[in-house]
Amino acid sequence: MRMTMIEAIRNAHDLAMGEDDKVVVFGEDVGFFGGVFRCTAGLQEKYGKNRCFDAPISELGIVGAAIGMAAYGLKPVVEIQFADYVYPAYDQIVSEAARLRHRSGGDFTCPLVIRMPAGGGIFGGQTHSQSPEALFTHVAGLKTVMPSNPRDAKGLLLAAIEDPDPVIFLEPKRLYNGPFDGHHDQPIVPWKKHELGEVGEEYYTTPLGKAEIVRTGMDVTILTYGTMVHVAQTAASEAGIDAEIIDLRTLVPLDNDTIEASVKKTGRCVIVHEATKTCGYGAELSALVQSSCFFYLEAPVTRVTGWDTPYPHAQEWDYFPGPARVAQNLKKVMEV
């Protein structure tokens, strides 16, 4: 059936909780109200307050408590209301969740999913727009996931919940209701009218660590994830470039084989993400591509990203790496 990304995420929670009574869900406004984005709506009513509940406004507390629960043997799935709010929990994520298995010699483990809406395009300014994925991909022991459509959001979330290790699950909030392609002045097609809004009702998982080629092409490989998957498709089509577009879906572990095969085929690589540029995930991708595909490259690996500034409010669309900026860089790479 057709679902928005919100409904797909809610459905994944529902199935996971139905399948395994160790799955517990909590976060700010998550229980009675069902989350500010409604991703957990109805779960408290269906599974009771012991399994889905509200938390005090303390991200450190939410993640710290969830680590204790995971160590006990539950499978907590917690929501950080906005990725921008995750920083108070950073020590708990980096020093605790990520290292617990390793530092205890496997004595304790931390099967934990930390969900958080990320990315801009909603006039959220600097505190409701950030894409902090690189802060997590840099940490040994974490897996980092970002889906770009309802079908994957459900499958990846269920895979993350099944995973025996902590998973950071970033939800591009601009995609919650439809495949936003960066044309902010045009209406978006709702997921209900889009084929990727077609989500199986059954329990299924989409494996972590597997990218998807969303468009095959010969001219250039675009490595991207989240909202930018849709921006990249529009940009390539508007620029009339036969791009091969890879939706990474999981950033760690990364599907390097798919990337390598594609870049070796096209000889060009453009990396597109919404997060800031310097030391962003694109830097890692760029380094990997140049070391594995150096002799196949016909142009420098190019990054199209958000600027290295705080995310602005009024000037949002000058910050956001929209289709025009992506297309311009694609053309530049093709001219080399």
Binding site: G64, G68, M69, R101
Partner: protein, 411 residues
């Protein structure tokens, strides 16, 4: 209204005495043993507010157990309590020396605080989980954990259960109710509350016990733990070990001039009390009371253990550079081993001779464990964990990039 005529100045607290001063605890108010009342298990925080400002004490100067908190331990239990504390002290002596001999990189001892962890452990049941800091080794010793395995960890040798990955004393012993020690201060406090919440969610009967030092109560983790414990009535005992010193800063740096650490619980409606941390009987009685509360679904209790860190913070600091000489012996709550020994002597259950004999026995036992551990190697000689272990258990299943890096490293 005052005229703004004086420039403001910042108040930076300082302890009463520093090197060169005469130790002085005259302002430290010590209630008489036996004076503190014992509230009902379901007492509210408000009804026992005074107990966060007093100190529960059982053993008096004569070594007798007095008052309503006395009498819950049989002579055999007291004797094994004494043995646990002596064992911990002997263990510390040997390991401190081993560190000085270069057999490991670092060590932290529990000197002077042995009663806190040893007595507390006896109030817990198997299956309960402690989230300790680095000065609760007594939880393991009193729980019957193998000293040889502890030493294997300290030596990071081939038999180290955590495979050389952590600094000495960062034990992990799930089966003995001992959560993996982090080294980042305070983080475990909220995790303990989460573990306790999980036990409640699962309809289990186990409780958690959280540990933190006076200095680390300043962390946000401490505050978050109190919020969550109070909000969800988590079955957890929240311990603050106030040993007066956080490396070189005295407890006033975390507490200011305000109230007590126990009083921190009042803002959260958590029943809170202070206990003489050098009094084995008092610690046990208060721990038992709090554990019973948690197990009966009455929620969290905050216990401030008032004690004194008689040794350095670790092998990396010299307390004589920041503490007054003789402060340790001037500490008015005495030594936990001496006090329990004196009590057993008043009961005619112990003697000076028996004690001396026990000291030898305990030291022999520690030496035997040490010999066995050293056969597995030390940090600087003999067998070591494999360097392949660096890459194992970062994830349950090794991802491709780590396999590649492991191969690159030659393992």
């Amino acid at each position: 209204m005052h005229k703004a005529s004086h420039p403001l100045s910042l108040h930076v607290p300082e302890p009463g005495c520093r090197p060169g001063d005469k130790p002085d605890f005259s302002e430290f108010v010590i209630p008489k043993a036996g004076e503190a009342r014992k509230p009902a298990h379901n007492a509210t925080a408000q009804s026992m507010r005074d107990m966060a400002f007093s100190i529960v004490r059982v053993l008096n100067k004569e070594g007798e157990a007095v008052g309503p908190w006395a009498g819950d331990l049989a002579i055999d239990q007291l004797k094994s309590g004494l043995r646990h504390m002596m064992m911990l002290r002997a263990f510390d002596v040997r390991m401190l020396t081993a560190q000085r001999q270069g057999k490991t990189s670092f060590y932290m001892q529990s000197l002077g605080e042995e009663a806190v962890s040893c007595a507390f452990r006896m109030a817990l049941k198997d299956g309960d989980m402690n989230f300790p800091t680095y000065r609760q080794s007594g939880l393991l010793i009193a729980g019957g954990y193998s000293m040889e395995i502890m030493m294997n960890q300290i030596y990071s040798n081939a038999a180290d259960p955590i495979k050389g990955r952590q600094m000495p004393i960062m034990y992990s012993a799930k089966d003995h109710g001992f959560f993996s020690i982090s080294g980042n201060l305070g983080t475990q406090y909220i995790q303990a509350v989460g573990w306790a919440m999980a036990s409640a969610i699962a309809g289990d009967t186990k409780i958690a016990s959280a540990w933190i030092g006076d200095g680390s109560t300043s962390t946000s983790d401490f505050h978050a733990a109190l919020v969550f414990a109070s909000t969800y009535h988590a079955p957890v005992v929240l311990n603050v070990v106030n040993n007066q010193w956080a490396i070189s800063t005295f407890q006033g740096m975390a507490r200011g001039d305000a109230a007590t650490f126990a009083a921190r619980g009042h803002g959260f409606g958590i029943p809170s009390l202070r206990v003489d941390g050098n009094d084995y009987l008092a610690v046990h009685a208060v721990a038992k009371w709090a554990a019973d509360r948690a197990r009966s679904g009455l929620g969290p209790t905050l216990i401030e253990h008032v004690t004194y860190r008689a040794g350095g913070h670790s092998t990396s600091d010299d307390p004589s550079s920041y503490r007054a000489k003789g402060e340790s012996s001037a500490w008015p709550l005495g030594d936990p081993i001496e006090r329990l020994k004196a009590h057993l002597i008043t009961l005619d259950a112990w003697s000076t001779e028996r004690h001396a004999q026990a000291e030898t026995e305990v030291m022999d036992e520690v030496r035997t464990a040490q010999k066995a551990a050293e056969a597995n190697g030390t940090l600087t000689s003999g067998k070591s964990p494999s360097s392949r272990d660096i890459f194992e258990e970062v994830y349950a299943e090794m991802p491709p990039h780590l396999i590649k890096q492991r191969q690159e490293a030659g393992y």
